[in-house]
Structure formats: structure tokens, C-alpha cells
Subunit: 285 residues, 2 copies
Amino acid sequence: MTMSESLELVSATKSFGGWIKRYKHRSRALDCEMIFAIYLPPQAESERVPLLWWLSGLTCTDENFMQKAGAQRLAAELGIAIVCPDTSPRGTDLPGEHDSYDFGSGAGFYVNATQAPWKSHYRMYDYVADELPSVVRQHFPVNGRESISGHSMGGHGALILALRHPGRFRSVSAFSPIVNPSACPWGQKAFQGYLGDDAGTWTQYDACELVAKGASRQPLFIDQGEADNFLEEQLKPERLEAVCAEHDHPLTLRRHPGYDHSYFFIASFIDDHLRYHAERLHKNR
Amino acid sequence: MTMSESLELVSATKSFGGWIKRYKHRSRALDCEMIFAIYLPPQAESERVPLLWWLSGLTCTDENFMQKAGAQRLAAELGIAIVCPDTSPRGTDLPGEHDSYDFGSGAGFYVNATQAPWKSHYRMYDYVADELPSVVRQHFPVNGRESISGHSMGGHGALILALRHPGRFRSVSAFSPIVNPSACPWGQKAFQGYLGDDAGTWTQYDACELVAKGASRQPLFIDQGEADNFLEEQLKPERLEAVCAEHDHPLTLRRHPGYDHSYFFIASFIDDHLRYHAERLHKNR
């Protein structure tokens, strides 16, 4: 183990018989110190357990999901670990980095930036796809079976990671994901800033485009609230529905009347997602 | 209905088939505008439901419990409404009011202050014992059956309200309560400030003293984490245990190894409390 792979325990909090642990580490991909959180269910004290990745949305850190989703109760019962990465590099101070809620800090969009000054730190794709998984496998009692989920910007992250790595995740789900970032204001602002004006470079980070390319047959499970303020302008699930229908890509999209974009929506349906992932994580193939 | 009893809806968020609603109203007891939250389970759309009061701890508002305790899932299943009051008057600006986390704003301690300048606003006992219950009964589909719970300073509040109103609450429980505020730094600072130096006036707001007086036989159900940083200096559950033993007062005190003072502890055991209250709230006497 090299110095750069060492972890510093920030806090350990008992939760439903298991532990929420927060760690600080030096990220090579992001060239900064990062904090992530892991929930270790009680089973992890005596055996290796499967792992669910949770990618969070705009403005979030590693803490929001652990505090507000209410996932630990069932994760403890099902014996699933959950890792929550942060949503952007931290501790850097690039020009304008902290000016917007939807760009820069708290808004890494799970891409590898190619534009200055962002490209020196904003490589969240590599961080969540490669570096952090390697750290987690090295330091925690996980068994190599992984699924992935996320919310909003993090739902986008979960979808593109699963679609770009066929066979790697046993299952993928998302709450209120940005399914077509190339064609909505949040995504366009982020992709222009991080990736530049050539929209041809954006498609690798766009779930609708990836489904259209047919790189993966991974089934997609998505929950969307119908009272979500961002539904029409930013989220546009009907686009994913159309492209999945056109390309015969398996999609389960549930629309929930009255639910908004908040963690109260996530908490209301997180058990369904945990059971969906657990069924696939615990199955011997 | 007079003007002072009107409610202004601040937000409505769907949660587990029910609704979390936040309301602003003018409090006569506190002489300021206050916000409270209510969770209405799905059953409240067609029938009157029982009600659980939740009193929060230092620094909290009406929001912490709703966001972090994960109580809505089971409350929806059991058909129980939950009301979360704020923890102090708001919008006032008394000398020093916002200087400490454990006195003034966010730290009303559920007493009626007798000392200037606090006595003009800090009458949280009257607010949670009388004014807000009257508002809730007037505006929401509740059936008159009520239980009460709370955390830390709010656990203290729940215990004293139940002990001082025999027969009013079907059940009372608490997480990590301040059981003997007259004899710990948090309580002494608050009681001196709000009530003055005569400790004889403090006993009416002290659970250990109230049990010793024998005014009520209400059984007490308490959960306490053994890794709670405040256990030895502030919470001292062994004092309540001793006074209950001495006066033959029914007490169930569970000590949980490894758990701290946070909402992660509350979330881990809130289902036990909800089932305990539901059993008593749904029983026909």
C-alpha cells in the first residue's frame, strides 16, 4: 500500500447494528483530499458483503444520503454495504468554482473535464469508476458484487457508469435522474464548462446517447416524482423512455404522483431499490 | 377562529403516501411567529388519527426529526400523525439570545421563563402543553389520542409534560433525555437563566423531581446510547433509575452499546418507539 492509498477515519457512527464510517483520503484522480462514507451492515463483521454505490445530486456531499434516505435499516437486514462518494473535488479554489450550485464544487457531474482550469481536478468519472472502487475493495470486507444507484445528477452518474461498463454492476437504479444532460440546461452548462463546446464529446456521458449506441443491455430501474419541480426542464424521463423503446432497451420507469425532488421522495421508495439490488447481488450466477 | 389561530402553509411534501406539512402561525404564548411540522399518514385522508408529539433537542428546529429519524415509513403503516414543534421562540433578538447553542434560540428547554428579558417570549412549556395542541386539534384530523416522545432536551420535555399531565398521554418515551436538569450543566445554565437562582422553582421541570413527588404513575420508556458523549456529564440516566426504583415508578431503560447521541441512534430504534406508542394509541380503553 502506498501513502496515497491510506485512509484516515473521520468518524464512526453506529447505525442499525452496523457502522457509518467516513474516511478522508488523497485522490490521485482529483489531486485533492476527499471524504467518502461507507455503511457497513452487521454482517460485514463476519463475512464479505455485496456493495451498493450511491451517487448524490447537486450540492450534496457524502452525508446527505446517509442522513436522510433511511436506507440503513433495510441495508442492515439485507446485508449490503453502501458507499457514498462526494459530488466534486474539494479544497481547491478555482476561479468561479464556488459561485453556482450547479457548476463547480458540489456539481462534478461525474465527467472527466478536458477544459482548463477544471481538467486539473474535475475528473469525477475516473474517481468513481476506478480510483474509489479500488480503495474500497482494498480496505473493506466486500465480496466483489456491486450495484449502483443515485439521485438527479447522481442518477445520471449511476446510469452512465452502468451503461459504459457492461457486466460490472449487477443492477442499476436511479431516482429522478438527468437522463439526457446534453439537452437540458443543467447538463449543457456543466458539459460546456467541463468538456468544451464540441457536443460530440458529451455523448459518452449521456444516458440517452449511450442507450442509442447500444453499448449495453443493462436493465434500467427508475423512479420519478410527478410533482418534481425539475421534471419538465431538466429531467425529461420521456426522452429515455423513447430511446429505450426505439432500441428495445429494458427500462422500468415508475412515475409517482405528488412526489417531489427531495430526499423525502427517495426515502419513500429506497426500500424498493434496495430489494431490487439485493435480489441481484445475492444471486449466484 | 380568530386571526391568531390562522395557519399559513409553508410547504407540503409527500412522504410514504402521506404528507409532511410545515405551517407558520402567530403564537400568543411566545409572542412571535412560529413554524411547526406535522406528518399526516395516508389514513388521515379518510379518518381521524392518533397523534405523537415529538420534542427535539438543542439546536434543532421542526425539520430535524422529519428529515433524519426515518419515522414516516412506520407512522404511515401504523396510521399515526406526528407533530414536531420548534425548540424555542424565533425572530426575536434578545441580548445574547443567539450566542450559545445551549441557551436562548434553539434551547427553550420547554419551561416558562420568569426572568427578564426571557419571560416575554420564552414560554415553551405553555406553547407545547397548551397552545400548539389546541391549534393542532382545531386544524387537523386527529382523534384526541396522544402520546409524546423526544430527544435529549426534547426527551426532558416529553418526560415532564407526561409526568405533569397524568392521563393526558397514552404513552411517553424518550431518547437520551436530560432526566435531571437541575443537576447537570445544561439544565443549570438554562434554569438559572430562564427561572432564576431559586432552585425550588426548577423542580416542576425536572423529571427526577417529578417522579420523586409521585404526581403520576405514567410508565417511562427510555433508550440511551452507551457511546453518547453527553452521557456522564449531562444525561445521567442512573439518577432516574434510582428515583424510579425508590418510588416504585415504572421505567424501562434500555442501554445500547456503541450508539451515540445522534439521529443515527434515534433512527435505529424509532420503530420500537412507534410500535410502543401505536399499541397504546390504537387500544380502546
